[in-house]
């Protein structure tokens, strides 16, 4: 028994305060159902972080998707991929044969700037905005490995060049290293162009068993974990170990090694996140990710493109929708449907999402999935 991606879809990615969350979901789900060639599903798993109670049911009822089991999950930035992971698990368990994974987030109705502190989180209550959490990691990474602000900026340069080719991206302008470094300082050393934008969007994936349809993309592995304790005994920056352990399990399940991947969509909510993630995934040795990015091997046209969509930095980061947008991009790439940003000959892709505050935990949740091949 295995599971395939039958269809994918997304809304536009933008600040869309004039639209209801349900309208974003209609756009994404309608595209995914049409792409899958089906007109309904047996169950839906919905990821959202700040979604209002009942947002999933209200959204799906507008498409006539009623009376089915609907399960809403929250798992920080990995909420969408957690919904996908659980949808796949339900199919593997034989509970359903056609399941929707949906991510919805409408951030402009909740925030006007950086994601505000969650008052019950001890570190966020101390003033640790999410950019500051990654900035702290960046400070340590730079001290440990001699990395520079320019090393961080080059991630934004690369991903913005990719995003400029993505009609769904929120930011569609390629920026220079100088522009990145000169943009407004948010939390040292991270500047504005190194932070993913606030976004309203939905993304959807329809999953089912193999059906002999050539456009379907097999799911070779999906692993979900929460972080171990993160404290004075942790040798790595926040978020490294959970990505490492989750991806090791995913590589084992998929029967592939990091070098076998043709492309990756990884969690670059902030530039430092992509560098740390590439090392945690085993794509780069410790401290070597900046040098690898600088060679161009992770750009479209390079040997192993990372975030050909433009990543969260370009697409925007509607928390619950992000993971499913990553899977949509990987699916388009593996089908050869990615247009100007197509990775030539792409057969196997990895998607990684992780998130949460620190507060003694190395990430609230991390999902790594390998698809294709």
């Amino acid at each position: 028994m295995s599971v395939c991606v039958w269809g994918v879809g997304t809304s536009s990615f933008a600040r869309q305060p004039e639209r209801l969350p349900a309208e974003l979901a209609w756009e994404a789900v309608a595209e995914a159902l049409e792409d899958a060639g089906v007109d309904g599903v047996e169950a839906a798993y919905v990821g959202t972080v700040f979604g209002a109670p009942g947002v999933a049911q209200r959204a799906l009822s507008g498409l006539g998707l009623t009376e089915i089991p609907i399960v809403t999950v929250e798992n920080a930035c990995a909420s969408g991929t957690t919904a996908y992971h659980e949808a796949r698990a339900a199919i593997l368990a034989g509970r359903y044969e056609r399941v929707l994974a949906l991510g919805i987030e409408h951030l402009t109705s909740r925030f006007d700037g950086p994601i505000a502190p969650e008052s019950t989180d001890p570190e966020q209550a101390t003033g640790l905005l999410l950019p500051a959490l990654y900035a702290l990691g960046a400070s340590r990474y730079m001290a440990d490995h001699g990395a520079t602000p320019a090393d961080l900026a080059r991630v934004a340069v690369k991903n913005s060049a990719h995003g400029a080719r993505n009609p769904r991206a929120q930011r569609r302008r390629a920026v220079t290293e100088e522009e990145v470094l000169a943009s407004r300082m948010i939390a040292e050393p991270l500047t504005l162009f190194q932070c993913a934008g606030l976004s309203d969007a939905a993304a959807a994936v329809v999953l089912g068993p193999p059906r002999g349809e050539g456009r379907d993309i097999p799911v070779r592995a999906s692993v979900l974990r929460s972080g171990a304790a993160w404290d004075q005994a942790s040798p790595h920056v926040w978020g490294y170990d959970v990505v490492r352990t989750t991806s090791e399990a995913a590589f084992e399940e998929a029967g592939v090694a990091p070098g076998d991947l043709d492309l990756l969509e990884v969690h670059d909510a902030f530039t430092i996140g992509e560098l740390v993630t590439l090392e945690a995934l085993g794509i780069a040795d410790a401290g070597r990710a900046p040098a690898q990015v600088a060679t161009g091997c992770h750009s479209i046209g390079g040997s192993q493109p990372v975030n050909p969509s433009g990543g969260l930095l370009s697409r925007g980061h509607p928390l619950g929708a992000t993971g499913l947008a990553q899977i949509a991009e990987a699916t388009w790439q593996l089908r050869g449907d990615a247009g100007e940003r197509q990775v030539a000959g792409a057969r196997v892709a990895l998607v990684e999402t992780m998130g949460g505050g620190a507060a003694g935990i190395d990430g609230n949740g991390c999902v790594v999935t390998v698809i294709g091949g």
Binding site: G113, P114, A116, P117, S119, T120, D121, P122, E123, Q124, A125, T126, G127, L128, L129, P131, A132, A135, L136, G137, A138, S139, R140, A143, R184, M185, I186, A187, E188, P189, A229, D231, Q232, A233, S234, V237, A358, G360
Partner: protein, 130 residues
Amino acid sequence: MTAAATDAPGRSADPRPVVVGYGGRHLLAGARCVACRHALARVVPRCSRCRGPVEPERFGPDGVIWATTVVHIAAEPGDETPYTLAYVDLDAGPRVLLRLETGGARATIGDRVSLTAPTASGSAAAELVR
């Protein structure tokens, strides 16, 4: 470590690290695992590393900066910016996120710091030791 209850809707009990004044010094009211001796920044039922039982212990006041950043955007409306945050590993104690008073100096990883009284808003805080 009992955080003050709140009667204001929309506000929860204060989750931040508890720093107490003691003999002119400021100490973190944390805990230590009875089984594996791991230091914890707060009192919880079980050790986050080995699930052993814990007992309260006070840590500090001194420690070393593990990571630091200067934040240029306000976490809450009205917050003064910029402000400095640091993960500090207290000597023989836990890692804790602190607001850092640098007196205009630039904090760097490896600098020694000492716990002070919490900020006016109640966040755990430290100053550079010169």
